[in-house]
Symmetry: D2
Subunit: 287 residues, 4 copies
């Protein structure tokens, strides 16, 4: 997953554990002259099997668009859920943001410098504060304010926009609105949020205030897939920073910023490199 200059194919598999799975998949790749550059697997204690295999397409004898059909019989034999991805196909990304700009800046700067793959095709703000940043990075920006009364309508507008743009991933970069279940269900495992606490501690609003009240000595941030249960979706990445009694709520907010943006960028990077498999409410992260 690190050989970024090569064109590679990535196969992500989940199914019930059975003997012969690794052999059958790797044999498939090598039969058609694919050199495996990365292969990882996981056997869950519940009997589930997960695999990620990545191979160089340079000498692979099946063209990209026909690999799926060629693999189908193996997938059926083992009753696999599977996805096939290619490193040279750039995922299309939308970012939703409110007033805070630190997480947005981080994503844009990393994307521009090539650290973060993908094409950021649109930024939606429920405030106008970040419009000039979008301009600087030359990314279309829509100002879509939300009120209780307009929420359903505005979400519809956002979904139409994202669907017309064929968006693969929606990143909530400190987007301060709770998305409706309709919206969330429309993009399963395609919305990544950053929550500014070490989940499951301090779910919901104002986690830094909650952390200050409790007197913890460490604060955290969590990037996770959004589900219709608030702050309960599958966790991708977490990070922490140490604090002390000297830190006011404002200090926590300030210190938390660096944490939030780095943990969000980490979660997004793992997703975009096709290193994450979701099962139930948890993730397998092949890193």
């Amino acid at each position: 997953m690190r050989n970024k200059n090569r064109e590679t194919a990535i196969l992500l598999i989940s199914c019930d554990d059975q003997p012969g799975l690794v052999a059958e998949v790797s044999y498939f790749v090598s039969t058609y002259k694919g050199n495996i550059v990365s292969s990882d697997q996981h056997n869950d204690s519940s009997g589930a099997f997960f695999m990620r295999v990545q191979w160089d397409m340079a000498d692979f004898t099946i063209p990209a668009e026909k690999i799926g059909a060629a693999f189908e019989p193996i997938a059926e034999k083992y009753n696999m859920d599977w996805k096939l991805k290619f490193s040279h196909i750039q995922p299309r990304i939308a970012i939703m943001v409110s007033k805070y700009d630190h997480a947005l800046f981080e994503l844009l700067q990393r994307n521009k410098s090539g650290e973060l793959p993908g094409e950021i095709v649109h930024i939606v703000g429920n405030h106008k504060d970040t419009e000039s940043i979008a301009e600087y990075f030359d990314i279309p920006f829509s100002h879509i304010p939300i009120t209780k009364a307009t929420k359903a309508e505005m979400e519809k507008k956002e979904m139409d926009l994202f669907d017309s743009l064929e968006v693969d991933l929606i990143i909530l970069a400190r987007y301060m609105q709770i998305l409706s279940a309709d919206f969330v269900d429309h993009y399963p495992q395609k919305i990544i949020n950053i929550h500014h606490s070490f989940l499951p501690a301090f779910i919901g609003a104002k986690p830094y205030h909650q952390a200050f009240e409790r007197g913890v000595k460490i604060i955290g941030a969590t990037s996770h897939y959004v589900t219709s249960d608030l702050d309960q979706g599958p966790i991708i990445a977490q990070g922490i920073t140490h604090i002390s009694h000297r830190d006011s709520v404002e200090d926590l907010i300030r210190k938390g910023r660096a944490l939030e943006k780095n943990v969000l960028a980490r979660g997004v990077e793992l997703h975009l490199n096709h290193q994450v498999l979701v099962f139930g409410n948890k993730t397998v992260v092949f890193d």
Copy 2:
């Protein structure tokens, strides 16, 4: 607070913030020829003031037993809560333990090597598993098993024991019993527990199982003073370690051990060096 070979006095103060506090206290020390080796203070946003000042006793002109009386007028003037401690007076420590021996070993080995001050005067186990360890370190051990029926009686026995030993601190080194409110109230800010989670996440029983179920990417441990609210007491120290989907519950338990014992030892060390002040349900830790 680090000059361990010198005899030093440590004054811990809390009161309402008022101008002149630092000056008055440091002037008191210097008037009697005490050289301040460490001085720290904290102004809480609520208007509370906390101070810790430590000075060399070598040339101090008031003998240890008379310092309190000499300081009393200043304390009254500012309506201070205050404590006076001396680095050369070894606190008397009791340890309560069940079957796990890792946290106990850590405390005993650190104490023996001089890392952890104090005199460990007794170990109480509700199982006999750790008796030979106590023997090896030459510390009296009492086996006091607890059942629902005998709990009140046994706790009475423990309190009598600890009171007769004039114990200053009780450490719960993975002691798997919940202490009664009577017991806890008898030793305010004198019982330190290690909880094997990143509080306030995963309160109560089996936190590693809870962490596994939630699919977190980091686990933690918390050392805190025990109050009658389970796992809700003032936090002294916290630590974390990274985990992955590969880790089973058993792996979390194993990885958590190193974390637990180190975070407990850290909390105990801070307490024994008189670096912790409790206010409400939080701590000021002067480190």
Copy 3:
């Protein structure tokens, strides 16, 4: 030191340790009705004494410009080196940069959001790559390319520029040139660099290549004051990140970026909040 909305004065002192120092300084502050909001000190094992005291100017009876003269007799009595700073006076900052933009972005974004104090008055690039960023943040930019032949002349030009702008701090945000001793000596303790290794490991060029060759499992970054000895100046802050055999040199460079910019911002923040005292080749950091 965290009460950013109040106007405060900060006094930084170093001298030989003597009894009465803390008392005398805090008495001075309280005599003129200054409420101490933060006070910290350090006694080095070599007999040196360091102190940082910060007080609220709201009720202080000496106006800011006369405090120095009022304190002078105490300073002379104890033969102190001392500096007086004010939280409401914004330090004037210049940034030097080459082609990499991640550290520059970090500093500008934190400064704009109020996390990092000071006024960034100029950016100098020896390449033009970051000019548009300067424009976006509305900060004057000079393109001053350096060759062996022009180095002395160009450094003269930079010094003239910085002096005319009355710059208090020069930040090397991954500036890929070695500054001459003349330049460095002109700004003692006023130039902060980020070195992309865990100093003193991997001094000099290409530290990530060196780290890769050695097969380390952790990489680091170090922010330090620049002296005429390359990468040998007093260290202000350090940070690390874990790596594995999977990481190529390119991965180290990529992972190092987040580390570099955060450790640089941390070092700069400590300096700008007047929390750093240099002694010999080391720092006292009052945090």
Copy 4:
């Protein structure tokens, strides 16, 4: 690699990268009804290939002692270096120690509690200080003091002892002697040391003193295989802890202890679980 209750076989392979390697190895395992519980590989940028595959022996149709012969043709075809290990065969371990007991205690306590696999068959001390610990854990102890004059003779005695005990791994648990090249060469990749610095910083004697002098803000520890170049062997694991100007050399020594013992135990655990492959002067760690 975590399913410790199952009997598993572990195959470790290094060779030149060639298409079909993963397929061929996994096919071999599945042909004989081995269910793969863990499989990991690494392609070095230099063209080297590394693989670790672990399978359940429960239904495997080749008995343990005949697997090698069955795998030999594949190994020859690809010109592999390979090792076959079994999770139920306990490695035989010797520990060498001087006066410090913290690292020794950690290893013994973890081994006793089942965290660390293997059988500790002997402890050699060049001082007698730790003899009673060996007794407590019921492990034979030899006191073998070393002087310049007796070094060759004593090392011969140690080698005879370890060879007669068929030792698989020698752990230097803060053993304060430099081993001769003869000794080291006799146990290639079979001696693990803990160096109390963040290598390659502070090689050689008194690293904490060196760290104090340099004024670093983080200290480290490194577990590595011993080679005849002092502190230059392949690194297995590293860890760090934050320090400040307040920490004296004695504080670094004290804080370093917890670090040393945990990083040593981590390196030993990885080795004993057959998760480490050495190539050149670096390691591949499959964790």
